[in-house]
Amino acid sequence: MAKVLRTGNMSKCIGCFSCVLVCAAFNRKSHSIQKSCIKIRTYGGVSGKLVETVCHACREPACAAACPSNALTLRKGGGVTLEKDQCIGCRRCQSACIINAVNFDEDLNEPIICHHCGLCVRYCPHECLSVVEVND
């Protein structure tokens, strides 16, 4: 069994950005929200909804298919893992993902790939996010 992120309860989201801040801090050792896997933004301004953008752990990920150098390998449970040595920084993975879940790290010249660690879930004060177990 493997773990994947689910984001089903966004109506409770208060826009605190804790998920974004801890992801960037823990996974990329950065204080910058640019380095987070998960993004939170408004849909039509602050008076509209809050929406998340994060990897949905596709079983047949378009990002991997688009990668010309095989730098994205399939992950158990869905989604991908980045082989840094193979990545050339072409950003085709970013364009391929229709939900815009692939961020790009300009400083390291590589995509920011979610590995469903679940830290964002732990730091959400309102249980908007969850981690579920799925078949490998």
């Binding site: 826009g15 605190c16 804790s18 801040l21």
Partner: protein, 588 residues
């Protein structure tokens, strides 16, 4: 910046459309926030010119620990207040601190007047002066929507700071709205924006700021996060929020009602925090970086045409201060009517507290014949919200001489028409919603920005027993809290978290990012910052001994009974002695 030896200041000349970035090592000793902003205000202000002169600066600053720990979410704005003519200092949350941080600026100084209405667009790599002509004078609040369109690539990492028609027309208590639901409310920053043709500022982040010592940083972050979310300390700000204050203040006889003729409201139960939660609350939001979520949004349905069942839904933020100023103070007992009046004030871009107090005075002035029906255009009567909604529009437009005068604040208006004894301001800033005792009253007089937030005077009153008035102790308590808040506001924490951020936590937070401060360092910085503010106030002509408190504060009883005028002035005199001593100590 954190990890740096310097404070990074962005200077913006609105007229020449030029910028300068200066790395200031000398500002590090002021930590950040109000500490840095005070020095920048002192350096750039022109005491010999009026507050709304184009040469006057607007200073924004974030703090020594901004955004990297929970609930350290605020940005301070400092300016010369067009309302009081002296120190202007105001705080707002939203996303501004986060975006300033990730754009890489610790402080921003804006000066001179643009040639035409402008939106400032600030990012890590650029500052743009964009045309805001189509948005000026329209009375619409779609600035955010326009900014979202031309700044599309910064989606999710942008803050929008804007004024409404109140600011455009330079009403003395016009506010600045931050990300829709937060404000630089008090003391008229909106008018200063208006006087520079500054319609809005958009700030977008983008810089990488690598964490230096991940293990110690994340451990400290986690500990603070748990205290903010798991303990009780912050819960009440989320549950019912500050509106919970209505009933206890009413019970205690400290709830300013009907222009403070009364200290209780017979319909308090109808406008209590619980009443709002049950009838109107639809959503809670937070500022970026705060897991508490204290923003309470209420909703009401409004018919916009007489026939045909034509309705619109309005969602508006409410807090205790608004329920007091635009509710109990004006005799409104229906939460939906209060929300509608809040929305009018919000669209106008005025400070809700000042607007309410001003309208309360105007109502009584009309009642007593100091002004006429011709002056007020509509009959202002306590409890009649539709007329108040109309009056808000007239204040913004300066519809006639009376409303122009009203737009300069209740102190000014009462000096023109009379009724000074019931013009409920303290040293020019309209009162806050607490008539708890000498703490709240004297606290507002001696507070550097005449706000209940300077020194939490109501807390001093809450801790006192009846009949035990020690002027020296009260002065000490107010001074100690004000000086301490100078340090807290240099970080810049949200004051709701002041119980989480005790000295020990603050020192750990600094240590975890490699800045080894001591308790004495924090105290020294606090006193240094306070002394700076006192110098600014003096340079702008403020003299504590000249403050005259409106008589009604001594006529309507407070939570601790009727207040005595002589005692109030005695506490103020003692306070003056203490700050004179502090000033010499800091200088020497």
């Amino acid at each position: 910046m954190i990890y740096q030896k310097t404070v990074r200041v962005l200077y913006i000349d609105m007229q020449a459309k030029k910028i300068r970035i200066v790395e200031r090592e000398d500002l590090k000793q002021y930590i950040g926030g109000v500490g840095v902003a005070s020095i920048l205000l002192e350096e750039n202000m022109r005491p010999e010119l009026p507050p709304l002169d184009p040469a006057q600066p607007i200073v924004f600053a974030i703090g020594g620990l901004s955004t990297i720990y929970p609930v350290i979410t605020k940005t301070v704005a400092m300016f010369i207040s067009p309302l009081t003519g002296e120190l202007g200092e105001s705080y707002a949350g939203g996303r501004m601190a986060l975006t300033m941080f990730s754009a890489g600026f610790d402080a921003i100084v804006i000066y001179n007047k643009a040639v035409k209405p402008t939106i400032l667009s600030i990012s890590a790599n650029d500052v743009n002066f964009r045309d805001a002509e189509p948005l000026w004078g329209t009375g619409k609040d779609n600035v955010g929507q326009v900014v979202r369109a031309f700044e599309h690539k910064h989606s999710g990492k942008r803050s929008t700071i804007r004024i409404g028609p109140g600011g455009e027309n330079q009403v003395a208590y016009a506010c600045v709205t931050v990300d829709r639901y937060r404000h630089f409310g008090r003391l008229g920053l909106g008018a200063v924006f208006g006087s520079k043709y500054l319609k809005a500022i958009s700030i977008a982040g983008g810089r990488d700021i690598p964490i230096r010592n991940f293990q110690s940083y994340f451990k400290t972050y986690r500990e603070i996060f748990e205290r903010c979310t798991k303990s009780d300390v912050m819960a009440k700000y989320h549950d019912t929020g500050t509106p919970i204050n209505v009933e206890p203040l009413n019970e205690a006889g400290a709830l300013p009602t009907l222009n403070m003729r009364q200290n209780r409201f017979e319909h308090a139960d109808k406008v209590s925090g619980e009443a709002f939660s049950q009838d109107c609350l639809v959503r809670k939001l937070s500022c970026s970086g705060c897991p508490v979520g204290c923003i309470h949004l209420g909703q009401f349905r409004r018919e916009f045409a007489a026939h045909g069942h034509e309705y619109e839904t309005i969602t508006v933020g409410y807090d205790y201060e608004l329920i007091f100023a635009l509710g109990t103070f004006l005799g409104l007992s229906d939460p939906k009517e209060i929300l509608e009046l809040i929305e009018e004030v919000e669209l106008a871009g005025l400070d809700a507290m000042s607007a309410g107090v001003v309208l309360g005075w105007a109502t009584e002035a009309l009642e007593k014949g100091l002004v006429t029906n011709e002056d007020t255009i509509v009959p202002l009567v306590f409890g009649s919200y539709k007329e108040y909604c109309a009056a808000v529009h007239y204040i913004v437009s300066g519809e006639n001489e009376f409303y122009k005068n009203l737009g300069r604040g209740v102190k000014y208006a009462s000096e023109v028409y009379g009724g000074q004894s019931f013009a409920m301001h303290v040293s020019g800033n309209e009162m806050a919603g607490y008539h708890t005792g000498y703490g709240s009253l004297v606290g507002a007089a001696v507070g550097a920005r005449h706000s209940h937030l300077c020194n939490g005077g109501y807390s001093v009153d809450q801790g006192m027993k009846d009949g035990n008035i020690d002027p020296d102790k009260i002065a000490d308590a107010l001074l100690a809290e004000e000086v301490e808040r100078c340090m807290l506001n240099s970080l810049v924490i949200c004051l709701f978290a002041r119980k989480v951020y005790d000295r020990g936590t603050i020192l750990s937070a600094f240590a975890a990012i490699g800045e080894n401060m001591t308790d004495d360092d924090l105290t020294a910085a606090a006193r240094r910052i306070f002394a700076t503010k006192l110098r600014i106030k003096k340079a702008l002509g403020f003299r504590l001994r000249s403050v005259k408190l409106p008589k009604r504060f001594f006529e309507t009883p407070s939570m601790h009974g009727q207040l005595d005028e002589a005692t109030a002035y005695e506490i103020m005199a003692k306070y003056q002695e203490k700050i004179t001593a502090l000033e010499s100590a800091v200088k020497g």
